[in-house]
Structure formats: structure tokens, C-alpha cells
Point group: C2
Chain length 272, copies 2
Amino acid sequence: VSDARPIGFFDSGVGGLTVLREVIRRLPHESTVYLGDNARAPYGPRSDEEVRAFSSECLDVLAERDVKAIVVACNTSSAVALPDLRLRYDVPVLGVVRPGATAAVLASRNRRIGVIGTNATIRSHAYFQAIKDENPFVDVAEHATPELVPLVEAGQLEGPVVDDVLRRSLAPLLESGHSIDTLLLGCTHYPLLLHAIRAIVGPDIAVVDTAASTASALASLLEVNALAAPTGVAPGHVQLTTGDVAAFRVIADRLFGESAPPVESVAAAGAA
Amino acid sequence: VSDARPIGFFDSGVGGLTVLREVIRRLPHESTVYLGDNARAPYGPRSDEEVRAFSSECLDVLAERDVKAIVVACNTSSAVALPDLRLRYDVPVLGVVRPGATAAVLASRNRRIGVIGTNATIRSHAYFQAIKDENPFVDVAEHATPELVPLVEAGQLEGPVVDDVLRRSLAPLLESGHSIDTLLLGCTHYPLLLHAIRAIVGPDIAVVDTAASTASALASLLEVNALAAPTGVAPGHVQLTTGDVAAFRVIADRLFGESAPPVESVAAAGAA
């Protein structure tokens, strides 16, 4: 049982590359096509209608590349557009919210989970709902940390400035009466700050990351649907962006080093 | 996006009913067909060829009922027959081993996991492999506890005899230098002993149960593949056995109480 077609990844920008990196590490035989809609990022401030329309346009680009499954590696799109997208495409469509929520529920022992994310993600309560869906007895403390994505986009991943911003961002979850034992990183940018975050929250709080949990859910999806790639064939990887190729490449290089896949420019239907 | 067809469940006998119970609790709109191959249970002592042949015959019965997905709620069949079964049927086929292994890895903080199961399951090292696949840095201590299934089949789920058997069965995992912080119940019969097991291992060891984790994986599978049932239609449930209907009904009644689905006799191709 094998299927050599690539897996499609979609994000509003570069954050989903943390999911891609985890998938390539874990599923080395799989080919991938990544599309970042950088020309229209961020999706956070967009209306739901816009997010749905942009997401569909981007998934059309992936569908034209004959992908066997699609990962919506964008929290905003996962929270708003998934049911529509699943109606529109025949292939399985995996989001990042449910895998992250499921992993956090399993990781927590005292049933108190903290969630951080962008303003749009926290406002949508998508993680709150997905966690309650998994176990209604879990307490969920949600907290928006909009100052973290700009750090990552600027390449500031460690050092005293990063620690200072993180300490202030996480204080409301750590110092209050929440007593969380698990922190869910509800944004695909945040795994790039994982070491700094772990150092601040300490060893008693498990840090759960949607990149790793989505890669695990994808491995299961491929297995259950008999879609795994054959092992004898060298995989191919390509990254597409609707925005500036050079800017995209800087962040891809930082994440993948010398093994960074080629980056190509692409136009989604409505994008510049 | 909805699909009113039932989900098929297959087990060598009655153990998989714990998975079914968890699925009905969690996905109340889904219809189900459960098939227990009681006439040929247990599968543990069978050859791999027999397990594969029996499993295919049973899944043919489910396929005739137009199921939209199949859960192989039998550890032995999950460990031995899944790749063959996925080749043979178009619908997604979910086993119990990977969901349980993934849940245990997420639940563990010190990366030391104990696994109990039947002789056949422990001998197959299926959980060991699935755990290492998820995270190679986890220590796995496997231990066969063949004395537990007979307890459950005899309806002995609590009391001093049960505690005594459990204490002796679990001692090698609890008293040695394993330092496990997570115990994975690698047999679908064991969730019936969950309260007694929890009391013995104490609050510092998380007990992970393949019934709950498989139900969670099934919820994700239906969502990702756009196969969830519509919410306005009353679901239907039926239980089939190749063996004695009255004996099957006794255990189904114990698990489901007054809401136990009807039990019907069925002949799988080769079964009595």
C-alpha cells in the first residue's frame, strides 16, 4: 500500500514551516509541496469570508499539484475555514488545532491547560472548544501573546530581549491561580521559541507544540488511509510563496539549513 | 459534510466493546456495527496466517454492511493483519495499537512507559515499536499479564481477589527499577479493570487506555476525511457474533446496561 504523491501544506506565511520541518524529520520518505500566502499575510485581521476565500484559492494551487492530503498549517484558517475546505476537496484535510488540543489533554495530569496564540486564534476560542470536546472536565486558560510572532519574523529566537518579552507574555498564565501543568503553543511560529519558553516555564510544565502533534496526526492519517509513500523512492520538496521569494528563503534557510527546499513564486487566484 | 453510514468494529470477541462504548459516548450521532468472532476466539494462540484470514473474513461481513470506516478493536489483529486489511478495503482502517502508543508517549513526562497485554500482544512487540516510532528516546517496559482476561470474562472486575491478582501481575513493572510514570493498557479487556488498576498504581502513574485513545483517533479520522454522521438522524447500533448470542449478551449488558444494542448471530465465511 503506497502512494508517491506529495503532501500539500498551506499557511498564510512562514509559521507552517515548523510543521513541515517536523513532518520531513518524522516521515522522510514523503514528498511535500508547501504554499505560503505571504502576499496576503497575516490572516489574523481578515474577515472570516476573506480567510475562507484565500484558503480555497491556495488549496486550489495545491490540488493542481495532485497532492494526496492537505495540512492546513495555519491556526486562523484551521479555526475558520476547515469545514468549507473539506467540502471542497476529495483528499483528507488536516488542521493544526485538534492535534494540538488532543496532545495537550493527554499531557496534562491536573487538567489545567494554558493556551497561547495570536489575537485572532485566542478570540476564536478554537483551542478551548477542541480541548473541551476531548475532555469537558479540563480547565482552559487562554491568553493572547501577539508580541511573539514579530520576534520570530525578525529572527530573534533567544537572548535577554526574547527572555524578557516571554516572561512578560507568559506571566498572566504562570503567576495567577491557574496552576497549569501544560502549556499549549497555539501558533505555528512558537516552536521556534521552544527552548526559550521551556527555560522560563520550568520542568514542571509540559510544553506541547502543534508542529509535533500535527506531524504525529499526519503519520496516523497516512497509515489509516493507506496513503504512505513507498520507501524506495527519493522524495521531492518544493516551497511556493505568493510573496517575496528572497524574504521567504531567509526564514526557510534558518529552519532547514542547507537542506532547505527550493522556493518558487506562485500566484494564487486573487493574490498579487 | 456528512455520511450516515455506520462505523464497523471488529474484535476476536468482546474486548473491543470497551472501544465501542467509548465511541458511542463520544460520538453520539454515529451508527455502529460490531462483529465479535467469538466462535474462533481467542486469536492470541493462532498463527499469523490464521489471524489474517479470520480478520479478512470478518471485515468482509462488515464491508457487506456498507461501513464508512473500520476499527480493528483487537490487539492481535492490529499487530498482525492491519497492512493486509488496508490493502483489501477502500475505507479507512484504524487499529488500536498506534492510538494507544501515541497517547502514552504524550502522557509520560519521564519517558518511562510500562505496557501490559496478553502473551500474544507482548510477544509481538507492537506497542514497543509504535512507541519507539513516536519517540525513540522513550524507555518501554513490556510485561504480559495473561491472568487478567479470564478475570474480565468471568465478570470479576473488583474486590479482594481482583486486587490480589492485579498486585501480583503489576509488581514486576512497579517494584523494579523501571520508574515508569505511565502505564499503557495494551488490551481492550483491561479498561473494565480501570478503577482497580488505578487504585493499585496510585496517583503518580498515569493509566492510558486504548479504548479512549482509539475513540479520539476515530473522531479525528471522521473529521479529517469528512465522514462524520449528520446530527439530525437517530443513530442505529447492532452487534454481531459468530459465537453464542446469549453469552455475548451477558457481557454487552454489563458494559452498556439498558442501552445495550441488539445482538445477532452471524456466520463469517470460515467460522462455525
